[in-house]
């Protein structure tokens, strides 16, 4: 009797406890529904209003302003004939001696380029489905994102040759995509820019996306045209000197040159904030302690080995300026240590944060040279000479003596060397496409001939010319079976 009674009590207690657990459960049904962290914003809400959508796009510029211009200028400068290396770092040594290894790849493939492309694709995807932004905002931001996607595909293909084309945020698709031929990549670059050109505002906009400003720090229609002009030119060279491509390069560059917003300015004003020569600049981000990474790092205040970039301008470059070239006076600085004199890029004059200069990405000077080159291909001799002379005149030089298309092409290549040195690796890419365009002065002749650049840097230029392309980073090949290595590595 007693036993049964107690058991009953025990059972009842257990039942009551179970009821408690059920209560516990229903009371805490929402226990596992946790909110998004207050430090983050759920993706679907980001593109619901112009402000956060803009934030997603300008993040790319903040990151690019952190040193892409300088990194590209330094890496490609060391790799080509622009800079002399004083760093003891192993990767710098490999770059400098053109002996890159797949394992320690210093290019942008495995660092930032594809992140920018992803961020841009995310903006394109996010805006495609939202109804929270006006058509004008959508157009501007989508245009900018397309522009960025084109911009980085353009640099990737110039450095690595064939590269994967990434046009979606879908990682399942992207993780296994193989390398597309360089021509196809350049064609996609052109297609993206053509679309961007139509979407972008003709003026520069503020963070409100539709309000016009004098700050040239967001890509606009002219920026798309300027990059388009360059892309057509490159495509022409890599497309077996396709005449149509040069015509399109000519026409895109003409559209920019004809735009009254832009004009050539005195040498020392070119790199100032919002200079009339600027087509697109990167603003100095709020956390920066210097105006531009280029100014901070390239300017020598001590011998280059203890400088920030541990580089100086090469003697090859310095000796190539014609006498009287004002660019040697205004854009090249000198530092003397003991008996040694070092030259450094002095386009940007500020080391600290002075709110004077922005990082230049695209400028009018290049457009004149692009058009001159295209015109030379089109055999428009006088026009080509005129455009080339616009640049030479500003530099205090007499008019060009080149009068045939091939002489003009060589003259433009030289002019690009002294006009665009240490700007986004321009020199190296010019030398490479000169190989395709079969110009007498090209990467193989400049780097490879005995006693020439590569050997004087302590390296050896292969007769196969495999060093024209960087190796595909080994880590990427390991992570994506469909990637192949460039020959020679």
């Amino acid at each position: 009797m007693k036993k049964r009674y107690q058991t009953k009590k025990g059972v009842c207690s257990a039942i009551a406890f179970c009821l408690l657990l059920v209560a516990f459960n229903s009371g805490c049904k929402k226990f596992l529904d946790i909110p998004a962290p207050n430090t983050q914003q759920v993706t679907s809400t980001v593109f619901n209003n112009y402000a956060s959508a803009t934030s997603a796009q300008v993040y790319i510029y903040t990151q690019m302003a952190g040193g892409e211009s300088y990194n590209m200028a330094r890496s490609m400068g060391l790799y080509s004939d622009e800079l002399t290396n004083y760093a003891t770092d192993n990767i710098d040594a490999q770059l400098y001696t053109n002996s890159l290894q797949a394992l320690s790849n210093p290019g942008p493939w495995n660092t930032t380029a594809y992140k920018y492309i992803y961020d841009a694709n995310a903006v394109i995807d996010g805006l495609a489905t939202t109804s929270g932004c006006s058509a004008a905002v959508k157009g501007q931001l989508t245009g900018e994102a397309l522009f960025i996607r084109a911009f980085w595909h353009f640099y990737l293909t110039n450095i690595y040759g064939d590269v994967p084309l990434v046009l979606t945020t879908n990682s399942i698709v992207n993780e296994s995509s193989a390398r597309s031929p360089r021509k196809l990549v350049l064609q996609q670059v052109v297609a993206d820019l053509e679309q961007a050109k139509d979407l972008l505002n003709a003026n520069y906009v503020t963070a409100a996306d539709t309000v016009t400003t004098t700050e040239r720090v967001r890509p606009n229609k002219a920026a798309a045209l300027a990059l388009l002009a360059r892309a057509w030119l490159y495509l022409g060279d890599y497309d077996g000197a396709n005449a149509q491509d040069y015509v399109k390069a000519d026409s895109a560059a003409s559209a920019v040159i004809a735009n009254s917003n832009y004009s050539l300015v005195p040498l020392n004003n070119v790199f100032l904030e919002n200079s009339s020569e600027a087509i697109w600049q990167l603003e100095t981000p709020s956390n920066a302690t210097s105006d531009t990474p280029d100014g901070l790092n390239f300017i020598l205040t001590s011998a280059p080995a203890s400088g920030r970039s541990q580089t100086a301008l090469s003697t090859q470059l310095v000796s190539t300026f014609e006498s009287g070239d004002q660019r040697l006076v205004n854009w090249v600085g000198t530092f003397t240590s003991g008996t040694a004199t070092y030259y450094y890029p002095f386009k940007y004059k500020q080391i600290a944060y002075e709110n004077q200069e922005f990082t230049m990405v695209l400028r009018l000077g290049e457009q004149y040279l692009i058009r001159a080159e295209a015109e030379a291909h089109e055999s428009k001799i006088a026009d080509a000479q005129a455009d080339l002379n616009s640049i030479r005149t500003r530099a205090g030089l007499p008019n060009t003596t080149a009068a045939t298309p091939s002489d003009l092409l060589t003259a433009v290549l030289h002019e690009r060397q002294v006009e665009l040195f240490t700007e986004w690796g321009s020199r190296w890419f010019d030398l490479c496409r000169a190989v395709s365009a079969k110009l007498p002065v090209n990467a193989n002749t400049v780097m490879g001939a005995p006693g020439n650049a590569c050997q004087s840097k302590g390296g050896a230029w292969s007769s196969t010319g495999y060093q024209l392309l960087f190796p595909v980073p080994l880590t990427q090949i390991l992570d994506n079976k469909n990637l192949t290595q460039n020959p020679g590595y």
């Binding site: 207690s13 657990l21 011998a303 994506n480």
Partner: protein, 1135 residues
């Protein structure tokens, strides 16, 4: 009616209102359950009873009057049926009538009626049954009095007492045949009949150290006697921890428990150790066990903010890959300050390592990698005791590497140029000229031993601990405090100071039904380490300049306008300080509702906070940068981890036939959150201002991270033991975790275990008398792993602190994947526990096999996807299996001398069983199906070419240059083959000597992996160990080190060498891990000084390492500070 029954059984009332409140939370409900409320209804009663049990009458009275009865249920057997007819009778009179013939007295206290058994009439006195009063003394084996020992009548435990401070007791028992039991925790109980205890007799209790099967092991949700356990649990007790001069409890576990693999990453105070239980289950993520301190989960993730880093402790970056970028299976761990350094080892009573499914399944999704339960010390009944323990000691690097001296070093450089057929560069040339010579600038007559200069110092240790404890049989307390200070072997004033407080309070109601326990541990840890581990600089050239100029300033060895020396002491002027405050507290309540039925819950809270500061004055730069204000910075971060946990549960225990049934049902609610903010202030006008961020001209927020984790679970356990011979245990867990996306949060886990104590079978015990104990056990079950970051399923954007056009950037946080779910681990174990000759020889063997599927990994992606990884359930199965052997022996045991040994041995094996689509996945270059995860695909080294002096490899194409993947071959597992520990404990009178060896058989990375060859690439000026002197020098010579060379081709071959099997070497070692010698002062001295348990001791850690490994240490391998050799001496005593 049922509810009434419940209420009565509880002797309290649950009002309907209370019931309605049930829905709120279990916490409140639980409190209500304990809430006593008695409603007053009437003061008179009306009863009409006829031959009913007394209990029913009492119930009726209670219902009418609102008075509650307190009595012992068992007494009701003695009650007599009641006949009663009263109407509106005052309560007092009704009671009088009801109790007329009952064997009870009663008393009314407020609204409670307390029943008491009437004194039994004393039987007529006779010689055989006369109450006797015994007096005597209880001591330990050494004759020292034991206070607080329990002396009680065996058949009536209520009649008992505790010994006083001198060990004396007095107890009256009914007759001289009564059996009296003497007991004390940790000692073997003894029984004597009263007649065998003449007045003043002394009972000596023997320490129960060898009674392995009696040990009660904590399995978190429940406790269990080891004898009756079907699971596998390793235990490390306070004794073992305190014998070791360590400041992080994890370090005290190294080599002590089979299956527990701990690798120290560095000898810097507060450094992290990599820990895993029974191997690595997860390919890349989360192989940390679950840590629980006093029922409160403790995060093993460092609080070190990644934006600041831990300086010499390393940064808190995931160590998912080794130096070559190859993912290693030890991913998910991190360096930085070890969170365990905020737990005082001296506060710990025991650490339990839960290994198999039987023990871990109840932890559900948190238990896959095992569970480490840390239990802190509790007060013990007895007189108030004051304990103290003070020690001091020193630490040094135990072993240095033989490095080249200047002469050998320069010779190697000359040899390099000779090998390259290049003229040795003129020493006159400019340092920045390609023709520069290494001995052109620096004084070639200098010879600095950088190991002596940078890590050759002596670290000093101070440790002081004190506690007060005591209490009565019902209430015990302990309050402890500690202070410790460690310095480092580096030049400079670095140290780690800790102050801690620990308390514990236990109380039981006088009827032993209600128990409450409150524990708390608090520590303040102030850790200051250099910004870098200077061990990384011991390969500086031996001819490098002096650290200081004659005027005391830092020497930069300027030459031609540039500095030629990165003075290591310059970085030493910057500091990396972190202050940790850690609080762990737990409240444990339990109530025995009925005999065998218990309701309980614990409420835990922890708060772990770290404040970090990293000050970089401009003087840490070489001139002229040492005056640039922008280079002065103060980076500071605050990281707060906090969490709470509630574990309500109901347990029921009942004897059914010859079996004992245990049932547990319970729940867990857990929340933990982490908030971390790092900020940087820079650009100060001068170095003196950098401590105050307000003085900075530039300010930025480096990161701001918040995460929240919640976990809920319903757990159950059913255990049935038949005749103490056949054991069955089943556990169940259904839980949910917020680390998974909607629809994938819940999982079910469970395990069954069974055991057979065959030594209790008559057939066995009759025929094998020497077999004291024998148990065969097996278990199988599942547990899960959710050790991934929070919110990985959620696609979000994070805010960037930098502004552009006045607006902040937003960036995609992670590549989100909403579809991943649990990683499931299936554990199988079979074990045999034996004991021979009365526990003199006790071996135990276990075989385990854990299979983890649905691998939850941070899946590496090619960056073309925009991210380098995302969370993903890999269709892969990893198996960890192995043998674990434990052997305890009592070799010699006499009254004055004992020698015991303890050996543990683990031979783990790891195998990738299946991996769907491995060939096309990004893992194909790292893993091979059917092989260990620790095996790597590396180039096959084929020696140094005797003609060219260059490294050669097995290659498919003829150019001699290996390339991935076609020239890669599988290596043996680069990990432990087996490991374990051997301890020998000797006691002789007052002396006690414990010697512990740790042994590890393993493969590791050779010194060549970490030391760049001399002159390599023409750039590397770093020094190398003398082992490199065997380098190839002339044609025809066979050598195992490539020639010295400045050429880039030789440098490239060295890089290939690092990626080849030649960089893998035997890194096995036997370490004299610990020696502890203590001497207990003679009784007479102690008595004179009024002390008890007074000891002096000397302890040594990492005393000597036997190894063939070339390098500082085979455990930490590379250029990191090895675990130090520590020697400490101290005294401890109590009053």
């Amino acid at each position: 009616m049922q509810l009434n029954a419940l209420c009565k059984s509880c002797k309290l009332l649950l009002t309907p209102q209370t019931l309605r409140c049930m829905k709120i939370t279990a916490f409140l409900v639980f409190l209500f359950t304990l809430h006593l409320s008695a409603a007053t209804i009437a003061q008179t009663v009306t009863l009409s009873e006829h031959k009913v049990p007394l209990e029913k009458v009492l119930n009726d009275i209670r219902q009418q009057s609102g008075y509650v009865f307190f009595y012992n249920q068992d007494w009701m057997q003695q009650s007599k049926p009641v006949d009663l007819e009263v109407k509106n009778l005052p309560l007092e009179q009704a009671l009088k009538a009801a109790f007329k013939d009952q064997p009870f007295d009663y008393a009314i206290v407020n609204k409670t009626i307390v029943l008491k058994l009437k004194e039994k009439p004393v039987p007529a006195p006779n010689a055989q049954a006369q109450a006797v009063t015994i007096t005597g003394k209880v001591t330990n084996e050494l004759g020292e009095p034991m206070s607080g020992a329990t002396v009680k009548q065996k058949d009536n435990p209520a009649n008992g007492t505790l010994t006083d401070t001198k060990g004396n007791y007095t107890l009256t028992v009914p007759d001289d045949k009564t059996v009296i039991e003497f007991s004390y925790i940790g000692f073997e109980p003894q029984e004597f009949a009263a007649k065998d205890l003449p007045a003043g007799s002394v009972i000596k209790l023997k320490a129960a150290e060898n009674n392995l099967q009696e040990v009660v092991i904590n399995k978190g949700y429940y406790d269990e006697k080891r004898e009756l356990s079907t699971g596998d649990v390793g235990i490390v007790t306070a004794k073992t921890i305190q014998e070791q001069p360590v400041f992080d409890p994890i370090q005290a576990l190294i080599g002590r428990v089979a299956g527990l693999n701990i690798q120290q990453t560095s000898g810097v105070p507060g450094a992290y150790a990599t820990i895993n239980i029974r191997g690595v289950n997860s390919l890349l993520n989360g192989n940390d066990p679950l840590y629980v301190v006093d029922d409160v989960p403790f995060s093993s993730v460092t609080l070190t903010n990644a934006s600041i880093g831990g300086g010499a402790l390393g940064n808190s970056i995931p160590q998912g890959s080794n130096v070559t970028g190859v993912p290693l299976p030890n991913g998910g761990t991190s360096t930085g300050l070890s969170p365990f350094s905020a737990i005082n080892p001296d506060d710990i009573e025991s650490i339990e390592i839960l290994k198999d499914a039987d023990a871990t399944s109840i932890y559900g999704s948190r238990g896959a990698n095992g569970v480490v339960l840390i239990t802190t010390k509790k007060g013990k009944a007895g007189d108030t005791r004051v304990n103290f323990d003070v020690s001091q000691g020193i630490g040094q690097v135990g072993h240095f590497v033989d490095m080249l001296n200047t002469q050998q070093y320069l010779q190697a450089w000359h040899q390099a140029y000779k090998n390259d057929n290049l003229p040795f560069p003129s020493i006159q040339t400019n340092q920045y000229d390609g023709n520069y010579s290494i001995d052109g600038v620096w004084d070639t007559t200098r010879n600095t031993n950088w190991q002596k200069a940078l890590i050759g110092g002596t670290a000093h240790y101070t440790n002081a601990q004190g506690s007060i404890s005591g209490g009565t049989a019902n209430t015990q307390f302990l309050i402890g405090g500690g202070y410790s200070r460690q310095t480092t072997v580096y030049p400079g004033d670095y140290n780690d100071r800790k102050g801690s407080l620990h308390f514990s309070l236990n109380h039981a109601s006088s009827n032993q039904r209600f128990h409450v326990q409150l524990t708390g541990s608090y520590m303040n840890d102030n850790n200051i380490v250099p910004p870098v581990d200077f061990t990384g600089l011991i390969n500086l050239p031996p001819d490098a300049p002096t650290l200081h100029n004659p005027d005391g300033s830092l020497n930069w060895a300027f030459y031609n306008g540039g500095h030629t020396f990165d003075n290591p002491l310059a970085s030493a002027v910057s500091t990396n300080a972190s202050v940790t405050n850690n609080l762990i507290s737990n409240l444990d309540l339990s109530y025995k509702i009925l005999p065998g039925l218990m309701i309980k819950s614990d409420f835990g809270y922890n708060h772990d906070e770290m404040n970090q500061t990293n000050l970089i004055p401009s003087t840490s730069w070489f001139p002229p940068f040492n005056t640039i204000s922008a280079l002065r910075s103060n980076t500071f971060a605050t990281t707060v981890d906090q969490g709470w946990i509630i574990n309500p549960q109901l347990t029921y225990q009942k004897q059914i036939a010859k079996g004992q049934l245990h049932v547990l049902i319970g729940a867990t609610l857990q929340q933990s959150s982490s908030q971390s903010i790092a900020e940087q202030a820079s650009d100060f006008a001068n170095d003196a201002l950098i401590t105050n961020p307000q003085a900075a001209n530039s300010f930025s927020l480096l990161n701001n991270v918040y995460s929240l984790y919640r976990y809920e679970a319903y757990v159950g356990r059913l255990n049935y033991t038949w005749d103490d011979k056949y054991l069955f245990n089943a556990t169940f867990n259904r839980d949910g975790s917020t680390r998974f996306g909607p629809g994938r949060q819940y999982g079910n886990f469970g395990a069954v275990g069974a055991g057979w104590i065959f030594s209790k079978e008559k057939l066995v015990s009759d025929n094998l008398p020497w077999l004291t104990f024998g148990k065969l056990r097996a278990s199988y079950g599942t547990s899960g792993n959710d050790q991934i970051g929070d919110y990985q399923y959620l696609s979000t954007y994070s805010i960037n602190s930098t502004q552009y056009q006045g607006t902040n950037g937003l960036y995609p946080t992670v590549l989100a994947n909403p579809n991943f779910s649990w990683e499931v681990d299936r554990k199988l174990e079979v074990g045999l526990d034996l004991s021979f000759f009365g526990d003199r020889i006790s071996p135990s063997v276990s075989y385990y096999q854990n299979r983890t599927s649905n691998q939850l990994v941070s899946y590496p992606l090619p960056v073309q996807t925009g991210a380098s990884s995302f969370e993903y359930n890999l269709p892969a199965d990893v198996q960890n299996s192995g043998w674990e052997v434990q052997l305890n022996t009592v070799n010699i045991k006499t009254t004055s001398f004992t020698w015991t040994s303890n050996i543990n041995f683990t031979a783990p094996q790891n195998k990738l069983l299946a991996f769907q689509g491995l060939a096309t996945s990004s893992y194909s270059s790292y893993y091979t199906i059917g092989q260990s995860l620790y095996s790597q695909l590396l180039y096959q080294y084929t020696g140094v070419n005797s003609q060219t002096g260059l490294y050669t490899f097995k290659t498919q194409n003829s150019n001699g240059k290996p390339s991935a993947p076609q020239d890669q071959y599988l290596t043996p597992p680069i990990t432990q083959k087996y490991y374990g520990g051997i301890s020998n404990d000797f006691t002789y009178k007052g002396f006690s000597l414990d010697i512990f060896f740790q042994f590890v058989k393993q493969l590791g990375y050779s010194y060549q992996y970490y030391y760049y060859p001399i002159a390599s690439g023409g750039f590397n000026i770093n020094n190398v160990p003398t082992a490199e002197l065997t380098a190839w020098q002339a044609a025809g010579q066979s050598a195992n080190v490539q020639k010295f060379s400045t050429s880039s081709s030789a440098n490239n071959l060295y890089n290939d060498f690092k990626k080849s099997n030649a960089a893998i070497t035997d890194a096995s070692f036997i370490r004299l891990k610990n020696v502890s010698l203590s001497y207990r002062l003679p009784e007479a001295w102690q008595h004179w000084a009024g002390m008890k348990n007074a000891r002096v001791y000397i302890q040594g850690q990492n005393l000597y390492t036997f190894t063939k490994y070339v390098g500082l240490d085979p455990e930490t391998q590379g250029l990191t500070l090895p675990p130090l050799r520590v020697i400490m001496a101290g005294v401890s005593a109590s009053f």
